[in-house]
């Protein structure tokens, strides 16, 4: 059993050992570089990269707090022969360096007529639940999913995290690797050897014939809990973990909806122009005749992430909210006590 944190660390370690062009750069990815204390003091703000500096002292680089410069630097290095893994500490900092991501990395290959490869990985933390308030809790991956040229990965467990990260590092396109900050300690069986998981292949986490629940990242676990409760009420939910939002395995969604006729998309990003709205639109467009009920989305409200614990708890999708949406869709209510 390995936590997501250790699975990511193991993936980085194995790839750095395998390929000398892989580097890790970011703010405090070693932590303490050049200080009097331990040079590898932090190993990333949550210790995800801890231990790598000692093994690869020249390839694990602390940066100044300078997102535009070091994310751009990683992209430029990728265009010049390296496979950098840059850590954008919080996805909320995207705004600081966004031009480098969406105007530069994403477009090189297309604008330059297919001659560029930009094999950069940007690891970043997303998600609410840690009382981190509005600027450190967002799930901004739809903004990145929106951009052609970028690939967006959102693992839900340690096994996937390792396989998807190794795939991301070996991939020749720019990849944004989004890690939910509330699930680093979540453990799963993770093989010691190196392996990859292909992008654009969703995983059916739980099979069911009544309702399809499509989700990603940490909410996979929320939806699984909802599905367990609903199963006790006689409603069989199929839970689909997208794993990557770009490329998106839309066929897997259609296949499941063909079976169930009902779709709920559960997502942590904002509802307007978000992932859930996009999937609903795709299904309405491409699988209209399969729908046996109006498709639903369970997302936070169109509001920033609040700080106060009770407010944040209200804000996020919960198993109860997911179950309620499913019940409404199939026309059942819960019996009173």
């Amino acid at each position: 059993m390995l936590s997501i944190q250790l699975a990511i660390n193991e993936a980085l370690d194995q790839e750095m050992r395998r390929d000398p062009t892989v580097i890790v750069i970011g703010e405090d990815v070693a932590g303490g570089s050049g200080s009097d204390g331990e040079e590898d003091a932090w190993g990333g703000p949550l210790g995800v990269t801890k231990g790598l500096k000692g093994k690869y002292p020249d390839r694990v680089l602390d940066t100044p707090i300078t997102e535009s410069a070091f994310i751009g630097c990683a992209i430029g290095a990728a265009a010049s022969g390296l496979r950098p893994v840059a850590e954008l500490m919080f996805i909320d900092f995207l705004g600081v360096c966004f031009d480098q991501v969406y105007n530069q990395a994403a477009k090189f290959r297309y604008m330059f007529g297919g001659k560029a490869v930009t094999p950069v990985v940007i690891r970043t933390m997303y998600g609410a639940g840690l009382r981190a308030a509005s600027q450190h809790s967002q799930a901004l991956y739809p903004i990145l999913t929106h951009i052609p040229g970028l690939k967006v990965v959102i693992p839900s467990n340690a096994y996937d995290a390792k396989g998807l990260l190794i795939q991301a590092i070996r991939d020749d396109d720019p990849v944004i690797f989004c890690e939910h900050k509330a699930m680093y300690t979540l453990e799963a069986d993770v093989p010691e050897e190196s392996y990859t998981i292909p992008f654009g292949v969703a995983k059916t986490v739980r099979e069911g014939s009544d309702v399809t629940i499509v989700t990603v990242g940490n909410l996979v676990h929320v939806c699984t809990r909802a599905a367990e409760q609903l199963a006790r009420e006689g409603i069989a939910c199929e839970v689909i973990d997208l794993r990557t939002t770009s490329p998106l395995d839309d066929e897997a969604i259609y296949r499941s909806v063909e079976k169930t006729g009902r779709l709920v998309v559960v997502d942590e990003s904002y509802p307007r122009c978000g992932l859930a709205a996009d999937i609903l639109a795709l299904v309405a467009q491409n699988a209209f005749d399969l729908l046996d009920a109006p498709p639903q989305m369970v997302t936070p409200p169109h509001a920033p992430v609040p700080f106060s614990p009770p407010l944040e708890d209200m804000y996020l999708p919960t198993p109860e909210r997911v179950a309620a949406a499913v019940r409404e869709m199939v026309g059942t209510v819960v019996a009173g006590a």
Binding site: R59, C73, A78, L82, Y110, M111, G113, A116, D171
Partner: protein
């Protein structure tokens, strides 16, 4: 390691042989003829989109790139034709690119503002002012990690020198001692706004000292001065001593973009600028010193004009990209 000097007296430690002089002349003349022709073709409505001309600033591209091999990489600006030509990009393919043709350097998908050729170490003109500086840090970092002697050059204008990306990149390059040269082409305008308005200092090179790297100001109309100053900076970078900033004072013969009426410039300003044309200065110096015969230069100029004529003729006759090109190369694999 800081420092800042204006019009440094350089020791002319980079002597030029006849071939190098002819090559420099050919580069500058090619840029000039390319840009003058684009100016005409744009006026005829033959070229789509936004175009920013480099005419007047040729000595900088030629003076910098004469030191570089294909393994040395540059990032460029929206005013990037000169850098691309000096870095060795195919002129006919560049012309076809500006015309949006399938035979263009980027198969018609980039256009003037995104001309690039990675094989030549040209990582792209750039539509975003200041965006090339962080990318150039990556060039330097890659060279350093891979243990090569390659260097990176980031071309920027005085306008970009006010962007955060530029200032952040100066810091990162200095902190990591990256083999990198920031070449600031100060043509006195950020679009239509004069540098006297958009910054409170005379010389952008002053900023280098604040980040701990040498900053040098040279006359960008003087090929020899540019070549000498950048030569020192590149040697320093290849030695592993870190980045430098070289500010070249230049003149922009045309507007910010083609179609810019330049009402903001004084009536004699462009005329005066043309009077100190970097190419004429170059020709005067090499011929008066007896290094090269005028007739030889005239022959090169004729060859260049023929090349540009052919480039335009071929570009106009070249096929457009078709529907099959629309969705290729969004990703390497998807």
């Amino acid at each position: 390691m800081g420092g800042y000097c204006v019009n440094a007296t350089l020791d002319n430690s980079h002597p030029l042989d006849r071939e190098a002089l002819l090559s420099a002349y050919r580069v500058m003349t090619t840029i000039r003829e390319f840009e003058e022709r684009i100016h005409l073709e744009m006026a005829l409505g033959e070229i789509p989109g936004f175009v920013h001309l480099y005419a007047g600033e040729e000595a900088v591209a030629a003076g910098v790139c004469c030191h570089l091999d294909d393994g040395d990489r540059i990032t460029s600006t929206h005013r990037g034709h000169g850098h691309a030509i000096a870095k060795g990009c195919d002129v006919k393919a560049m012309m076809a690119e500006l015309y949006g043709r399938k035979t263009g350097l980027c198969h018609g998908k980039g256009g003037s503002m995104h001309i690039a050729d990675f094989d030549k170490g040209m990582l792209g003109a750039n539509g975003i002012v200041g965006a090339g500086a962080p990318l150039a840090c990556g060039i330097g970092l890659s060279a350093k990690i891979r243990g090569t002697k390659e260097v990176g050059v980031s071309f920027l204008g005085d306008g970009a020198s006010n962007q955060g990306t530029f200032l952040e990149s100066l810091n990162l390059a200095a902190v990591w001692k990256l083999p990198l040269i920031f070449v600031v082409e100060n043509n006195g305008y950020g679009e239509a706004t004069p540098a006297t308005y958009h910054q409170a200092i005379d010389d952008v090179a002053k900023r280098a000292d604040g980040f701990g790297m040498p900053g040098i100001v040279v006359d960008g109309r003087d090929f020899f001065a540019v070549r000498e100053a950048v030569g020192h900076a590149i040697e320093r970078a290849r030695r592993g001593d870190g980045p430098s900033l070289v500010e070249c004072k230049v003149d922009r013969f045309y507007g910010h973009f083609e179609g810019d009426a330049q009402a903001y410039r004084g009536s004699s300003e462009v005329e005066n600028a043309r009077g100190r044309d970097c190419i004429e200065q170059f020709v005067g110096r090499v011929t008066s010193a007896g290094l090269v015969e005028l007739g030889h230069l005239a022959a090169i100029a004729q060859e260049v004009r023929t090349l540009i004529d052919d480039a335009v003729t071929e570009a106009k006759a070249a096929p457009w990209p078709d529907e099959s090109d629309l969705l290729t190369d969004v990703y390497v694999s998807y």
